[in-house]
Subunit: 336 residues, 2 copies
């Protein structure tokens, strides 16, 4: 590149924009559909149900243990498609970059996107770049959108939870948000915690291949496990009881939460999936999940009940119950 | 709402996020597919070619004569789909909002999106909202992505331009960027110029309904008409000659350009389309375009030639030629 910093001209649609596309984005994201000539991507599609979603990513810092904004922005959209039972196919990527941002870091982020997209088996087929003046953004924001295909017969919805179903999760909660918060250095704590940021479509595929009846899947990102459980309880008009002792939380995350006064149930995850499944099918589903690299620590954490409707109860160690509400403050901004 | 300003908690995935969705976005964007429960949108699709695109919008100011960031963000994506000959079907919308932004303005912008989406006949089916702390963004940025359907037999590409084709545009250039620049108040000039911001899918439909052979369409946004012509010349390996006298520029835009030293050929448009069509079919295409409200000032502005390959020449008033290159600096940031 002609310069090691992003200039306003990189976003102006002229020579430097073309150079950015030709020298960084096209070679990195390289695939048959992405051609750099048109402003959009054309692909063939079979008839049936499609899934479409978008998310913006404003995580701070851009690089954190276990991931970066590039990996996160691919996983976030892949996972939103996956929890609907869709096979993620195509992604678009749009950057809003602050003038002066390091071209080297942009390239690193693009490479991380490429690697993650490959891991998830999807193609980045369309994109856009805007550059804003110094002070009008904090380094870099990314928005991805994704299209996936839902196979016939799959009909997952967070309004499908019903009594007789159990709640399953594929492992430890809270790692992502904790890793990001500690990476900011605000708490002067050292830890080995890494973000769990990962594309979940492979794990979802393994679940849907079993004969087990799954009614609903969700990824507990912003607002954490407690928020997702509340959304499902509300949408399905059911109660959900989860057992504190069964929810996988790393000792290190627990200790830091205790120290700082956080609740791991509200911490964001980026590689976790909550599965609602018929109690009788739990064994085959869990067995399939445990065989997948992202499901080794899979556990049943609770069950769906008739009452209290639209509420989530936490069964505590002393066998009392407390209501788990929606996150009511902001906890922390920019964790995804 | 509980407060007239956006708080960090509006982006945290908890109670205030839910309130924002339930009280503003769902009622405004209301449609069958958007349900506010799932993180993505599911829709049925027939087999065939789909078009997929994304753009981020960082325009400053957010409200300008002739439009606002809401209208712009819908038109931008609708138009990127339209120029590929796609019928725009579904849009996603993702907001990055600065803490402290006016909820009232957010509602105005959402309403403007709704109105524009209705005008274009498309549905907003998925979305996301992130809030960043004060100073980490400039009010509000919007990213839209869109999916459209390309009918059988349509095969437009900017590599399809060939000698024997003419270049048609649907009216005055430069209005959008000029309106935005003047709205910033930087030049202390008063004018009646309004952005041309409009969804072009209706006009494109009218063009494709004729029997005229169209090879390529492009919307001259960032970088303006000169940039789009260069991209087509380069992609098709042809020369393009445009006649200065034939290119529609309002007298007012011309005068301000002269005064400030801008070239209208490089100013961004948001409701213009450049059509490459067989010379013999120009009449029927132009006649169809002129019947459409967005095509009243349609004109042939040039022709495709063998040589000089990959270059755009401007035939000037004194019948000389000068090469129109790619925009080489930034002209102005944040005009879309």
């Amino acid at each position: 590149m002609t310069n090691d910093k992003i200039l306003l001209a990189h976003g102006a649609g002229g020579k430097l924009s073309a150079e950015l596309i030709q020298k960084i984005f096209l070679p990195v994201f390289d695939n048959e559909i992405l051609n750099g000539l048109e402003d959009s991507a054309v692909f063939e599609c079979e008839s049936g149900k499609l899934d479409f979603t978008t998310d913006s990513f404003v995580v701070k810092p851009l690089f954190f243990p276990g991931g970066d904004i590039g990996r996160l922005s691919i996983c976030g959209t892949v996972n939103d498609l996956s929890v609907m039972g869709a096979t993620p196919l195509y992604l678009s990527v749009s950057f809003i970059i602050e003038e002066g941002f390091s071209l080297n870091d942009l390239e690193k982020i693009a490479h991380s996107m490429k690697t993650t997209a490959k891991e998830a088996g999807i193609s980045i087929v369309a994109g856009d770049t805007k550059v804003v003046e110094r002070g009008a953004a904090d380094n870099l924001y990314v928005t991805t959108a994704g299209v996936g295909k839902i196979a016939d017969g799959i009909n997952l919805s967070c309004s499908n939870a019903a009594p007789g179903q159990v709640v399953i999760i594929n492992g430890y909660i809270g790692d992502h948000e904790m890793a990001v918060l500690l990476a900011r250095g605000e708490f002067s704590l050292h830890s080995e915690i890494k973000s769990d940021c990962a594309p979940l479509n492979g794990l979802v595929e393994a679940i849907l291949k079993t004969s087990g009846k799954v009614s609903c899947m969700r990824d507990p990102t912003r607002g954490g496990l407690a928020t997702v459980l509340n959304e499902v309880a509300e949408a399905s008009g059911v109660g959900i009881i989860v057992d504190e002792d069964l929810i996988p939380v790393r000792q290190e995350v627990k200790s830091i939460c205790d120290l700082l006064g956080f609740d791991p149930l509200y911490l964001a995850n980026e590689g976790k999936i909550v599965v609602f499944a018929d109690e009788n099918d739990a064994d085959i589903i869990i067995s399939a999940m445990k065989k997948h690299p992202l499901g080794k620590n899979t556990a049943i954490i609770g069950r769906v009940v008739e009452e209290p409707k639209c509420k989530v109860l936490l069964e505590t160690r002393i066998k009392g119950h407390r209501v788990l509400g929606l996150l009511s403050g902001e906890q922390f901004p920019r964790i995804c």
